[in-house]
């Protein structure tokens, strides 16, 4: 059973993944680019090789765990958290721990093994986002969970180990530290100004203009003023909305358009880099918060973080956000 532990100094929880412990020498010193798998368990026709699906988009209403799906969500075969059991919390003198309860799912974005997310059609991309939303809504009903994270690792140096295009979903019994910091920060700002800090950021980005990459009628894509990583890019809804799960269908088609557009620009400008993106949304039960504002953060994996950044949390970024935004504006978003 995996375990959740809280660092007593800064309060950060970690997952100790004792379920499939690796020996010390099992860690590669350098990962290489993934080789194409001869037999990919995510491809249609091999549904029997994966755990039983929890959800899928099946345009022809084919039966579960057969081919004919457009998007398919399965439990991770090697989950970092277990979905069975109850949440038990205990203290060991000064240390806190809880049972590693949660959900860990893999969302296969398309049946075609040779497509990456930027190759999907607009409708295929919409199907991925609507599956994101469906999983959010479903997992939010489990009273053991406080937060759902959807994220994507693209490329070996961003942590991807399977080539077939996919995202991952992790449901957690607590709000993770980075989100908690955003919540606290936006709460503090709201107390002072009675406005949403993200909404104010959007207006300032319109005023300054130089960090904007692209926009459509529902979303703004920009390089944040104080990024942690070179070419870090955020996609944020222009109107105030705390929770991704509450977005409507039109908004989702606008999101499909802008997300693919930005990813194509990154691909073009940076030569198909590895990247991560993740969705930051309000914790379960805070859907109508006036303070929080959901968004997607995209971080290309271009540099290695050095000791200084690990030790201090003070990131060293080699590119100004206005320059990154300009490069991305100039990159044509076609494949």
């Amino acid at each position: 059973m995996p375990e959740l532990r809280r660092d007593p100094v800064i309060g950060r929880w970690v997952i100790i993944d004792s379920g499939h412990t690796k020996g010390p020498l099992d860690f590669p010193k350098e990962d290489n680019t993934p080789t194409r798998q001869a037999v990919c368990p995510f491809c249609p026709g091999r549904e029997y090789q994966t755990p039983q699906e929890v959800d899928a988009v099946r345009p022809g209403n084919s039966p579960a765990n057969t081919s004919g799906w457009l998007v398919r969500t399965i439990p991770n075969k090697f989950p970092v958290l277990s979905s069975d059991g109850s949440l038990q919390k205990e203290g060991h003198e000064m240390y806190d721990q809880m049972t590693g309860i949660g959900a860990h799912e893999v969302l296969i974005e398309n049946p075609d093994h040779d497509k990456t997310i930027t190759d999907l059609t607009q409708d295929e991309m919409k199907a991925v986002l609507s599956q994101y939303q469906g999983r959010f809504r479903q997992l939010s009903k489990d009273s053991r969970f406080k937060y759902v994270v959807i994220f994507k690792n693209f490329g070996a140096s961003a942590g991807a180990t399977v080539e077939h295009t996919h995202s991952q979903i992790i449901a957690l019994p607590m709000v993770p530290k980075t989100v908690l910091e955003e919540l606290k920060g936006s709460e503090h700002y709201h107390q002072q100004h009675n406005r949403c800090v993200f909404c104010d950021m959007i207006s300032q980005e319109y005023k300054d203009k130089e960090r904007i990459v692209i926009e459509n009628s529902s979303f703004l894509a920009f390089c944040p003023y104080a990024p942690r990583y070179a070419f870090e890019t955020w996609i944020i809804p222009k109107g105030h909305i705390a929770d991704f799960a509450n977005t409507d269908e039109i908004t989702q088609s606008h999101l499909a358009q802008i997300l693919q557009d930005v990813l194509k620009r990154l691909k073009k400008a940076l030569g198909n880099p590895s990247y991560n993106y993740y969705l930051h949304t309000a914790p379960i039960g805070y859907a109508h918060s006036e303070r929080y504002h959901w968004h997607i953060e995209i971080i290309p994996k271009l540099t290695r973080s050095v000791g200084f950044e690990w030790g201090t949390g003070l990131h060293i970024v080699p590119t100004f956000p206005q320059d990154a935004a300009r490069y991305l504006r100039e990159a044509q978003s076609t494949n």
């Binding site: 004792s18 970092v80 000064m94 970024v317 080699p318």
Partner: protein, 324 residues
């Protein structure tokens, strides 16, 4: 000119280092080659005068500095946003005149000289009233963010803002002290010495543990047994035993984990208002082999997945024979 910028949501400062400004195409991973004595820039540098020299350790200003102190430190606002130019110092510590790659292979006496150099540089930098924090750290190996030159070195940065993770640690320790009137780290020291399952090695003055909630495989802390908030003052009289335990743990990594890349960083109290940290903060060193990559989940949430229980890591490191 480089800038320091503050994130308006969480209050995190970032350094935008334009001296290293790169176009998109320049983000290709450089193929690193290990230099020999003849091509090693640090073997050449050792003949030139540095800004400081101590027992074979030489300190130079970084050749590609991220910070500079030629203009006075000043903060500005830009609407919602806050910025400053990146004031401060960035120094390279060349640890030995010998062309040796890993600190684990230096004699204990030389490691001691490196530690003393850190302390002396920290004492110098903290006299500057614009400096909030001084960090001494090492990147060893390409996966740890270093160029593969094969010559032992570390770095010192003096910055005019309090870095977020340091602030997190200080606030955590302060909150604990407010509740218990005891130092959080002293309580960790006594609990770890009592149950021993995460203890790797100890001597009279220091202990090495795998922290209870480690973020990375083989993340390790070197904790002084005696309470002191500040590294430069706290190591007085214990320099030999710190050098010995650093060599010990770095050899355990080298032998047990097949010469991995690693980072270490000295976590000490902020330089301003030392009285505020005297009772509740406790300096220590974090040492982290770089064995896994950080993926989207960790980057997006600050929530780490450690694939091996800390007790098992400690077991493994305890059993490494460093005298083999």
């Amino acid at each position: 000119m480089s800038q320091l910028r503050k994130d308006p949501i969480v209050g995190r400062w970032t350094i935008i280092a334009t001296e290293r400004a790169r176009r998109p195409a320049a983000f290709v991973d450089p193929q690193s080659t290990i230099s020999d004595r003849k091509t090693c820039p640090f073997c050449q540098d050792i003949a030139s005068p540095g800004i400081y020299e101590y027992h074979g350790v030489k300190v130079f200003n970084s050749g590609s500095p991220i910070l500079d102190s030629t203009q006075p430190f000043k903060r500005h606002t830009q609407g919602l946003y806050e910025l400053a130019h990146s004031y401060g110092s960035h120094e390279v510590v060349v640890e030995t005149p010998e062309h040796i790659a890993n600190m684990a292979d230096l004699p204990i006496g030389q490691i001691k000289a490196v530690i003393q150099t850190y302390a002396l540089r920290m004492q110098t930098h903290r006299k500057n009233p614009s400096i909030e924090y001084v960090l001494a750290y090492k990147n060893y190996g390409v996966a740890a963010g270093s160029r593969n030159i094969g010559h032992c070195r570390s770095q010192i940065m003096a910055v005019p803002v309090l870095p977020m993770r340091v602030d997190d640690k200080i606030k955590g320790a302060q909150t604990y002290f407010d509740c218990h009137e005891r130092c959080l780290f002293c309580d960790i020291v006594s609990q770890e010495l009592k149950n021993k399952e995460r203890l790797v090695v100890e001597n009279d003055d220091f202990m090495v543990i795998i922290p209870f909630a480690a973020r990375f495989p083989f993340e390790t802390w070197i904790l002084p047994k005696k309470h002191h908030c500040d590294f430069a003052d706290g190591i007085k009289g214990a320099e030999d035993s710190l050098a010995a335990i650093m060599k010990d743990i770095l050899l355990r990594f080298k032998i047990g984990l097949n010469d991995p890349a690693y980072n270490y960083m000295i976590q000490t109290s902020p330089v301003k208002a030392p009285a505020a940290f005297k009772d509740n903060y406790h300096w220590h060193i974090e040492v982290m082999p770089r064995l896994t990559r950080v993926a989207g989940f960790e980057r997006g949430t600050g929530f780490y997945i450690c694939p091996i229980p800390p007790e098992m890591m400690a077991d493994f490191l305890r059993e490494v024979d460093i005298h083999a």
